[in-house]
């Protein structure tokens, strides 16, 4: 087995990275999708809401699919983590799934309904629930998942619900609202765009407040995280992240103030990337925080290689046609159509 050792370390790392990529794309893309959904609750007229919905029409399916990709790949690459995490997060996962179902069907039913009110509300509430469930899942990552010696879930039904996970969840919702707002700035014009400059600014501040709380509380409340954060060389990385974060928030607020159209979403995407990298460093090499590593939870090397051969080969292709989709539908939305 000795010559295989580097491979056995390397493959789980590759898959950790791929899953991270899928999750990141999901959070970014369905993030703006869910954000627009939550914002649709605030839309003042049916016409405005139509524009919001139209801006999502061609992308929401594909955006949501990143989650399915993530789920499927986690199942294949780290079966233990898939089983344990979903067991631990049963209720948040169900809330998320129910939310995603609600919003997806409301989206289609709304198109055909005369009385759109019910489906409008269901769409907004569904988006909110999906984000809420995901927020609690993220909160549990910070809290940690209680497992026994075999890595099976050994905690309680309500472990995911703590005052800290509530704050994490609210922060994630704010972040989705932020990226949703910047997406709408890009896709709309006139009064509607003006509204979303406002929502973007508010969401920037609320997200920042949540982020500061998470950044400060993580080392204070978690022993593992403290050890990791203050060890060399990690301390430099973790020191840099907040500095860059503040810089990006400054750039974002400035672009919003200057009424720039394309840059707010770029700064927001960079902020998401930065938080994501920070999160990745805190979790790695675990896959079920705080104790089960990717090496313990990984599928057999042959499985990982087999999956990598096909999925790895497809990732660039999948990315390419997703980009193509965005290019085809670039430009502003006017009424219930594209300009």
């Amino acid at each position: 087995m000795e010559p295989l050792q580097p491979l056995q370390n390397f493959l789980p790392q590759v898959w950790f990275f791929i899953l991270g990529l899928f999750l990141f794309l999901y959070v970014l893309l369905d993030g703006f999708d869910l954000g627009v959904g939550i914002l649709s609750l605030t839309a003042s007229s049916e016409e405005r809401r139509s524009i919001l919905m139209t801006s999502l029409g061609n992308v929401w399916d594909a955006n949501e699919t990143w989650l399915i990709l993530m789920g499927g790949s986690l199942f294949g690459a780290f079966p233990l983590a898939y089983a344990t995490i979903l067991n631990a997060l049963y209720i948040p996962a169900v809330i998320m799934v129910v939310g995603l179902i609600l919003r997806a069907v409301s989206f289609e039913f709304r198109e055909n309904a005369d009385n759109k009110l019910v489906w409008n509300i269901a769409f907004g509430v569904g988006s909110f629930l999906a984000a809420l469930g995901q927020g609690f899942a993220l909160g549990s990552v910070f809290e940690g998942i209680t497992v026994d010696a075999d890595g099976h879930f050994a905690g309680g039904v309500w472990d995911w619900l703590t005052w800290r996970s509530v704050i994490v969840s609210l922060t994630l919702i704010q972040a989705y609202v932020l990226v949703g707002s910047t997406y709408l700035i890009l896709k709309t014009s006139g009064e509607l765009q003006a509204t979303h400059y406002k929502t973007a600014t508010i969401a920037t501040w609320t997200t920042l407040a949540g982020a500061v709380f998470i950044t400060v509380s993580t080392p204070l409340l978690s022993d593992n995280a403290r050890e990791l954060l203050f060890s060399v060389p990690m301390v430099y990385i973790f020191g840099t992240i907040p500095v860059l974060g503040v810089l990006l928030v400054f750039l974002l607020l400035r672009s919003l103030k200057r009424r720039e159209e394309n840059t707010p979403i770029i700064w927001t995407f960079l902020l998401f990337s930065l938080s994501f990298i920070g999160l990745g460093f805190i979790i790695f090499p675990n896959i079920i925080p705080p104790s089960v590593t990717i090496y313990q939870a990984a599928a057999s090397p042959s499985s990982l290689v087999f999956m990598l051969t096909f999925i790895g080969f497809l990732i660039p292709i999948v990315l390419a046609y997703n980009v193509y989709n965005y290019i085809v539908f670039r430009g502003k939305v006017i009424g219930a159509t594209y300009e």
């Binding site: 399915i68 499927g72 790949s73 179902i101 069907v105 289609e108 099976h152 599928a299 999956m307």
Partner: protein, 481 residues
């Protein structure tokens, strides 16, 4: 009676059954309809007859409604393995998870990404790119069928490795994917989705003809459907027969349940085929039965007497054989009867077509034939559902046939948690089914837009050149997708 409310495994099984039964209703239609949309768009590009373009636009409205609900109702399926069947996920994740990962990346993403262009891209991309997008949507949908059926077939005939300490170790992935059940199962399902969609499209077309609404327009779609169904309906019966033979060889206990056969028929004897019966699980016999002597021997081996014995249910210990024999027995018969009925309907329609009775001017006179098509519209769904009941209830008590019991594969969750999700999902699914039927009915009643003109590609202004105020949509309601 209420004991099951405290039994997590039973609740998880009910939840899986309900999510699967509801979810199935939508992809079954979209997977087959995607192929129909290729044909109709191909006809439009070839003939430049605007009617075909209008057909493509009209049916894609039903397509998107079904696709959206299909995605939504499928989400619990994707997560349920981990949520409710964690020991299963862990035990067979190396293979089963890999296949589901493939389904997501290869198949589902393809379908979801090109769907946007297929639905909204008529005015934005050149016709050939649009046509390719339609093809890719169909390829994605059918690749999904392939991977899901590969995974499910593996549960029926696990191959390509072995169980070591309760964990499945894969030795040969290709062998595991190409397990003994895979080819016929995929083909059977592929034809099932196509056949279901064809008869839904045909049934709706016939409904318009019956009501003398756009009879000429819909005689076109009916003929396209008929042309494809002539190939599919008999093939499906043939593949179905091969599938039953496979069950006979690989899962004799399931075959015994499908036939409500309690006693073993030894080799060298003729076996009777049961036409109707009243199976009694507890008494281990049929209360009442109508049999055709010798027919089963012909069905299984094309011979008056059997080479292999047909084992009866009693030859297995009660804990090793499927329960709910009546459900399996009648599900199987319903599925077969529908398959035969659809083939017969197709044959009669083909004869009428050859006799010129389906020509646009006279088709409205075919009242009974059109009524039969309307009647046939929901039958494909029923056949698919009953078929899956035979397949998966018949596999019990095994989750992975002969290797992992359903009882050992369920998560040890508090029953209340599963009850919470089961209740929530069931209520939602019932509401959505009602809403889907309602809105589907509305699209149908409203009918196609026969004023729709050919798409003009590239007549839009470039992006972001002007800060337009949001102008109200002035296109006809049909065009607003």
């Amino acid at each position: 009676m209420t004991e099951f409310l405290a039994d997590t495994t039973t609740l998880s099984r009910i939840q899986f059954a309900i999510t699967a039964i509801f979810h199935m209703l939508w992809p079954v239609l979209t997977t087959g309809m995607a192929i129909y949309l290729i044909i109709i768009e191909g006809l439009w590009l070839k003939t430049r007859n605007l009617d075909y373009y209008r057909h493509a636009r009209f049916w894609s409205r039903l397509y998107v409604l079904n696709f959206g609900i299909g995605v939504a109702s499928g989400l619990p399926m994707a997560f349920q393995f981990g949520l409710n069947w964690a020991p299963f996920s862990e035990s067979v994740g190396d293979f089963f998870g890999t296949v589901l990962g493939f389904e997501g990346t290869m198949a589902f993403m393809l379908e979801a990404s090109f769907l946007g262009i297929m639905l909204f891209g008529w005015e934005r991309v050149p016709p050939i790119i649009h046509f390719i997008s339609t093809i890719l949507v169909a390829v994605g949908a059918n690749l999904s069928t392939f991977w899901i059926l590969a995974a499910n077939s593996w549960l029926q005939t696990p191959a390509g490795g072995e169980f070591v300490n309760g964990k499945f170790v894969v030795q040969d992935y290709f062998q595991a994917i190409a397990n003994p059940f895979m080819v016929n199962s995929f083909l059977h399902m592929f034809f099932a989705t196509l056949e279901t969609s064809l008869f839904v499209i045909g049934g709706i077309s016939a409904w318009y003809v019956l009501n003398k609404r756009h009879a000429e327009f819909f005689s076109k779609s009916l003929k396209v459907v008929l042309a494809v169904a002539i190939l599919i309906a008999p093939l499906q019966i043939f593949v179905g027969h091969l599938s039953a033979e496979q069950v006979y060889h690989h899962q004799p206990a399931k075959l015994a349940a499908m036939e409500a056969q309690w006693e073993t028929v030894p080799a060298g004897q003729p076996a009777a085929w049961s036409l109707v019966a009243l199976p009694n699980d507890r008494a281990e016999r049929n209360e009442w039965e109508l049999k055709i002597p010798g027919a089963l021997s012909y069905l299984l081996e094309l011979k008056p007497t059997l080479d292999q014995p047909v084992r009866g249910l009693k030859s297995w210990q009660p804990e090793n054989r499927p329960h709910m024999v009546g459900l399996i027995y009648y599900s199987f018969r319903i599925m077969v009867a529908i398959g035969l009925f659809l083939a017969a309907l197709m044959t009669v329609s083909a004869i009428q077509w050859v006799r010129g009775k389906l020509a646009a001017e006279v088709i409205t006179q075919q009242t009974w034939l059109m009524r039969a098509w309307v009647f046939a519209a929901p039958l494909g769904y029923l056949a698919v559902e009953t078929g899956w009941i035979v397949r998966c209830v018949g596999r019990q008590p095994w989750l992975v046939y002969g290797e992992l019991r359903t009882l050992d594969a369920a998560s040890k969750l508090p029953a209340g948690e599963v009850l919470f999700s089961l209740t929530g999902l069931t209520i939602m699914y019932v509401i959505f089914l009602g809403a889907a039927l309602y809105f589907g009915g509305r699209i149908i009643r409203k009918g196609p837009n026969l004023e729709l003109q050919a798409p003009l590609v590239g007549n839009q202004p470039k992006l972001g050149l002007e800060l337009a105020q949001h102008a109200p949509d002035q296109r006809p309601a049909e065009a607003r997708q």
